[in-house]
Symmetry: C2
Subunit: 397 residues, 2 copies
């Protein structure tokens, strides 16, 4: 199949491109390299040393004999996006090309406006490009489990049957997102559902849990194929951050009571889920939602798992409770359905002791590259002034 990967240079997009290329698909990456620019602006670094996109692609060709095509471009630039759809004529498009950090979106007004404009208008552009140039192409869109928030009922996959005053209907599951970033994904979901309805587009909205891990079968073939391992306060997700803190001898930063529970998924399962969605595409006019997660944990459970494995490796990790910089329920019910991808054939890689041990072992090997100063939270959801330097991201056009 011809597959276009928007945001194919990022944490998930790159291993996705490698995996689908290894399965024999014809892959084109479209990426504006903005994630690398954000690192330069902030002085952050991935714990895995990263090659340029050009080097990555050359390495993959050397190792696998397969060619991945790429175009440097921005989904906000409709002309470039439309030209890519016209040239590639994709059977499927995987859309990772969004600002994907909740803390980033909460820094200040400019970052909130940037996140919502970039994500919502970027996705509108993708929808119009599909309508104009590839109306039968299947859109596989990355959403987030955070769209649902933490309702006091079971979370279903996108829709819920509601019985009310003697009548019933199957309606979109109510959304309670908890950052301007998560809100942008909710806006996208509504826009995509509408376009499937009026234009007959086909779309799969993957409400993804928090991803952990840094390695796939393909990235492990050569260090030059590595994807990101973020541990900073803006882009680092909980488990990655805890592993690095344990290795750096810093306390594990648990926000609030640590009882906040979320869905999680291994990087290797993420890329397999997206393949499964591609191989069983949505029908014409269909908007479907899969909850792309395999397990759920509280922050405290994650921290305790890391502490236990750390002790086996001779590290004395400890928890430090932080005043929660986010506004969120710290004690809540959480039970999220996630059966549709299992039905399509997903065989989950669960968060075993071995997985955590391998993450810690990697972080130990990279110990000298760790910058502990980028881990502590400085972005606050509340009205008080944030201390992160605020400026408008300048993205290549």
């Amino acid at each position: 199949m011809r597959i276009l990967i928007l945001g194919g240079d990022g944490y998930l997009g790159w291993p996705q491109a490698l995996y689908l290329s290894a399965q024999g698909h014809d892959i084109t990456i479209f990426d504006n390299l903005s994630r690398r620019l954000f690192d330069l602006e902030r002085g952050f670094n991935s714990l895995t040393p990263l090659q340029t996109l050009h080097e990555r692609i050359a390495t993959w060709q050397t190792i696998s004999g397969r060619q991945i095509h790429f175009r440097i471009g921005d989904v906000m630039d409709y002309e470039a996006l439309a030209a890519t759809f016209q040239a590639v004529q994709p059977d499927a498009v995987v859309h990772f090309a969004e600002q994907r950090s909740a803390p980033y979106s909460m820094i200040d007004r400019k970052h909130a406006v940037f996140t919502q404009t970039n994500n919502v208008v970027g996705t509108l552009n993708v929808l119009y490009a599909l309508k104009e140039f590839a109306p039968t192409c299947h859109l596989v869109k990355l959403g987030t489990m955070g769209e649902y928030g933490t309702p006091n009922i079971d979370i279903e996959e996108g829709f819920i049957e509601i019985h009310h005053k003697g009548r019933s209907d199957i309606l979109p599951f109510p959304k309670q997102p908890n950052s301007f970033y998560h809100l942008s994904k909710v806006h996208d979901s509504h826009n995509i559902m509408f376009c499937c309805n009026i234009w007959g587009l086909r779309a799969t909205d993957l409400n993804q849990g928090i991803v952990y891990g840094f390695e796939t079968e393909e990235t492990a073939l050569d260090p030059r194929l590595a994807t990101r391992f973020d541990y900073d306060q803006i882009y680092g997700t909980a488990l990655n951050r805890f592993c690095v803190q344990a290795v750096a001898g810093s306390p594990l930063t648990v926000y609030g009571t640590g009882q906040q529970t979320r869905g999680y998924i291994n990087l290797m399962d993420t890329i397999r889920c997206i393949e499964l969605a591609i191989l069983s595409p949505a029908k014409e006019g269909e908007y479907r939602v899969f909850n792309q997660m395999t397990e759920q944990f509280s922050l405290l459970e994650l921290a305790e798992k890391v502490i236990e494995q750390s002790s086996h490796l001779g590290l004395e990790a400890q928890i430090k409770y932080f005043a929660n910089p986010r506004v969120e329920k710290e004690q809540h019910y959480y039970n999220a359905t996630h059966t549709r991808l299992l039905e399509l054939g997903l065989e989950p890689h669960l968060l075993t002791e071995d997985v955590i041990a391998s993450m810690l072992t990697f972080a130990i090997a990279q110990r000298n590259a760790i910058n502990p100063q980028v881990i502590l939270p400085t972005v606050n959801w509340r009205a008080a002034q944030n201390t992160v330097t605020s400026h408008e991201p300048k993205l290549p056009q």
Copy 2:
């Protein structure tokens, strides 16, 4: 009270400003005049001759002795908006300053992107200005009943208690908006609810039905105080358009089967509802939703009412069924709760024969100003090319 009216030069904003000024409030209008610019771009006209904002305000001062303040500015211009909040220090802000036409938003990609960017970012700017400069000010935001779509259950006011698998929660009512414009209002609602939660802002989201009518007690004092009477295919709403068609001798353009049912409200009730919301403000941190409508009708019921009153005035009006340019259910359940504004004291002006007769009588008096060519629909929701000339609206900054 000090009341800031964003979009105070528009169809609803202007009579709202007059009414609240007449009640003794200290009114400031903030408007970029974009609605007038759209008319100039399209060659449309209001059936009521309109004075400039300067003339309107001078007339009001002459007649009432009251001063309405105004600033020409755009909610997309955060510096201008923030300066206005700082200078006015409003107790309440009424936010009408959005692109408010569904067909406009469906013309093409640029109009869709403009509508969502203008409305969503404009409202984000309002939310940040409140947080920074007027954190106790009450936001009264115009939403639309169209946010709900046409579910097969009763529509509640913003939230619904859901029982599911032995548990229950009160959650945001699921949204199924049916144009990029209606989608922008859903995006706004989610953003506002979030900001009330994290910053303690107070907001009332008024999900308004389709407004009809052209006159209030204040606008009737002098022709120079008139507000808009739109009858074109982009801004004209069903009842206004039918009245003008009956007078022009054109058939009444009913889309599809005409059984599409929606909530409606008289212009005089709209301005009273907003006053009621202002007088009983939301509490700190509260996000509340009122369904601002008084009756519900199908398109066909409206057309038949107009035909009946037309015959009393010697007009022979007829219905012409048009292939529906919108993608929407034409046969559906519709029952929308709207009790909260009644509880606050609203005494509805219902759609009586007299009301329709007065609209027809006015249209007869303005017969020579009617341009029948602007009424027929040319904007199609479906993938086919629209015939409306497409270009980026240029708004004053």
